[in-house]
Amino acid sequence: MTESMFDVERIRKDFPILSRELPGGRPLVYLDSGNSSQKPAQVINTMRDHFEQHYSNVGRALHVLGTESTEAYEGARDKVAAFIGAPDRDEVIFTKNASEALNLVAYAFGNPTNTDERFRLGPGDEIVISEMEHHSNLVPWQFLAQRTGATLRWFPVTDEGRLDLSGLDELVTERTKIVSIVHQSNVLGTVNPVADVLARVRQVGALMMLDASQSVPHRAIDVAALGVDFVAFTGHKMVGPSGIGVLWGRRELLDAMPPFLGGGEMIEAVWMDHSTYAPVPHKFEAGTPPIVEAIGLGAAVDYLTGVGMEDIQRHEHDLTVYGLDALGEFPGLRIIGPTTAEERGGTLSFTFPGIHPHDVGQILDDRFGVAVRVGHHCARPLHLRFGIPATTRASFYLYNTTDEIDALVRGLHHVQKVFG
């Protein structure tokens, strides 16, 4: 392991649930952070404290509580903006999850009330995604194509689980209006070559969105350096609470987009027959936002920054190397995704011939307290591409240890014994 201040045992103590016992006295081995991460006491306590001492609605209230809540909520926006290197804090829009952020952008296209050329969409226009997308970055674009008559196209995936860029120039063309791909795959672990795709996107004058749900939690991200137009991610995967997600977008584009959800807070002035809209970020935050959830996400960002994103990435890289080694040697096991740790995160998906992932997951959980995810992980087309209905997925985060990977391997041996 690399030398660093990173102390995983100290970190584990911050997460109350990690010392929980499962029924039958088994310790918990949580290898399902790609699905949702656990929360440190710092986040839980910040939320509780806000409810007990400061809570009120934001934006609308002049009183002490309203001021405190608003400052905490907008302070969380500042923190998130700094965390992802947003040039302008008003470019950070709070949504309920990454899915809402992706839908928000998809709904900006082809809206009859929109007048900006970049968001016009109809027959002949094309939307480009990839075969490794999570359903949340796939179904919204299917909807868009269905509503507008535009065509949905996609990058294939190579046998190694990498984005296949060989047809890039034929796929992304003058007809393309938007390219939206995942930054780090939630199944393969693959980290996609954003710059290569972006260069072509810029050539043809299209827009580019990144689904960063699996990258923002695990590595330092700078949206300005990435250079894309939109980035979506989600609080619950980055030690934050449920109920909060983020859309970052370039200010100029956010200003040009039509509003999405209508309601309180997103308006400037309202008459019965028409309205004018507030500037971003509020333009896209209709109704009472997830106030305490945003504040919890702010605490999560503080926590991750305190530990250090570089250290987190290094730790996870070490776990990935260890895990790929251990699983790579496992008889009969097939890894779906890159088998080396380069440009790859700590998400290991695999299959066993003749043993269904459900049975793998069940035995791991029941006998060993090892929590993994089994199924298609909301990426069914990717599984179809590999000719499999499902995989077993172990995904790592800052609080995981090599001991836990050992426990996984022990569990897998038992699985083979039961079903072999």
């Binding site: 029924p23 039958g24 269904h356 992932p357 459900h358 049975d359 069940q362 035995i363 029941d366 006998r367 089994v374 199924g375 298609h376 069914r380 599984h383 209905p389 499902a390 039961v418 079903f419």
Partner: protein, 145 residues
Amino acid sequence: MIAESLYQELILEHYKHPQGRGLREPYDAEVHHVNPTCGDEVTMRVKLGDGGKVEDVSYDGQGCSISQAAASVLHELTTGSTVVDSLAVVDAFTRLMQGRGQVEPDEDVLGDAVAFAGVAKYPARVKCALLAWMAYKDALVRSSA
């Protein structure tokens, strides 16, 4: 320890050696059911005869041991039975599965299917056990239509 109560020998037996698997002709109705949360699939054909007799229940599918074994047990219990009797079994099985472990299984009605009693305690797996059984019910409706 818990796993043992889920993976009864009998379930593993049916999983490793499925009874009546494979799609056969002739048939009155064919249905295809999917469990979207896990991707388990079953295709099921039903051939009815005179006097409400179930002549053949043939199936194919992919999925976990629970879903595959459940299809195999279903085949055993329904083929050669009658529509009315087999629906009683389906009913009893459904009640057992949805009983969250509180329903006492009746071995006289359920036969080998009692082995699935442990599944009822795993809400996420109940759907697996029911997949083929719901497909069967659906296929019956369509073949009588």
